[in-house]
Symmetry: C2
Subunit: 222 residues, 2 copies
DNA sequence: TTTTTTTAATAGTATTACTTTCATTATATT
DNA sequence: AATATAATGAAAGTAATACTATTAAAAAAA
């Protein structure tokens, strides 16, 4: 896993101009991650970002058509990165149970190390996914955006892990529900553990979120 | 359950002036539900609401300090109403397994009948909870608001059902995680089934969401 | 070197989420 | 019925947001 130079490719539906190809573009993306984490998505603006990176609001709009689509870009990047991790860490594993267990770890564990795959800080991005990603799809435009393929990387991850569930138990009726419940649940639990801790049973250093969801999945599909 | 005249009381931390006590107040609340459902929370404004109810923006601000706190009020009302349903439908039931099963139905089922307990349309409110409630607590102000007690009705629901889980299996380590996973999960699945259906395994008229979560819970706590 | 592309600077727009002030209209009290 | 008090409405104002449009300067490509 460590220090591999891999390339995560984001489809052109997410930007006007690919930010990966210019230093301004990379700056926009990497600084926006820091700022969204720090200010929250609502208080983050392209104007503030422009000031911080020594550029102009109007230049940022040449890369992303709105601040909403920048958020969707980041989310898409995140799920592509997760998908890469899933593929990489299960490709030589035959036993589907071990493969599922590994996937569940990746989907539910905390990220506290920035592997610096690129100009993107994965630790902060993970925090953004937890705190802000639900805002991306809870929009009146969701159906239109879904048609444009905005959420396809996320769906791909769910389906991939759902298939492993079916390898273990082909009779199981709800593989996608189970996987999406685990993914969203784990993010919720991490958010709650910081802000509404009585809604969780998280204890410092005990990895309860991962343990809870692994146990839940294997019991449920049996 | 039917047609009972019960009273749901919302704490004063949620409003400047209690909307239940005036006809303008009741109008604000009931029309806001319709408009948030129709427009989405982002496009809903107090100005538009004022126009629709034949009143003025500034008058609405005398009831709620912001549109955000109106949303939190609605969410709090919803959870108080759910808590009432939980209490009412389990109070004469001894077997904790049956009690848990009943609670899980209430927490995961769809609401398609407006019992008109009051000026609040529960069908639309349920839709708002599914589509908008995550925006209420994904704020930078969450900790401050939590201290003020904004989320206590939600927490009470989770803890109440968590206790039933412990009655069935006192050794179970994660009752609150399990219950909050089910609650949030069921809402997610209902949203996904409408907008990103491939993330679910919902089939028309088969009640899969309720079945899935009940099965999951009973297997997990065994 | 010239052309083309990219970026910066500035200004502008409609809207939002409020706040303030003041007049009017109900309601309650005497 | 007269008066005091509280609730509402109308209007104007504010700072900020989420953009768009225009034009000029700088950088890169031909």
């Amino acid at each position: 896993m460590r220090n591999l130079q891999i390339k995560i490719t984001i489809g052109p539906e997410h930007y006007i101009k690919n930010p990966e190809f210019t230093s301004l573009g990379k700056n926009i993306v990497s600084k926006s991650i820091e700022m969204i984490d720090e200010l929250g998505f609502e208080s983050f603006t392209f104007k503030k970002l422009g000031t911080v990176i020594g550029s102009n609001e109007s230049s940022i709009y040449r890369y992303f058509e709105s601040k909403h689509s920048l958020l969707v870009y980041l989310i898409s990047w995140y799920w592509s990165w997760i998908e890469y991790k899933l593929v990489f860490s299960t490709m030589n594993v035959d036993d589907p149970k071990i493969r599922l267990s590994t996937c569940l770890s990746i989907l539910t564990e905390d990220i506290h190390e920035d592997n610096s795959i690129s100009f993107i800080n994965e630790v902060l991005l993970h925090k953004i996914i937890i705190a802000e990603s639900s805002k991306a799809y809870h929009t009146k435009d969701i159906d239109k955006e879904n048609e444009k393929g905005y959420y396809k990387t996320y769906k791909r991850v769910v389906h991939r892990v759902g298939k492993i569930v079916l390898e273990i138990n082909p009779e199981f009726e709800f593989p996608n529900m189970l996987v999406s419940t685990v993914i969203e649940g784990a993010h919720h639990q991490r958010y709650f553990s910081k802000h509404l801790p009585s809604l969780t049973d998280v204890e410092e250093g005990k990895n309860n979120i991962v343990r809870f969801y692994k146990d839940l999945v294997f019991k449920t599909i049996k």
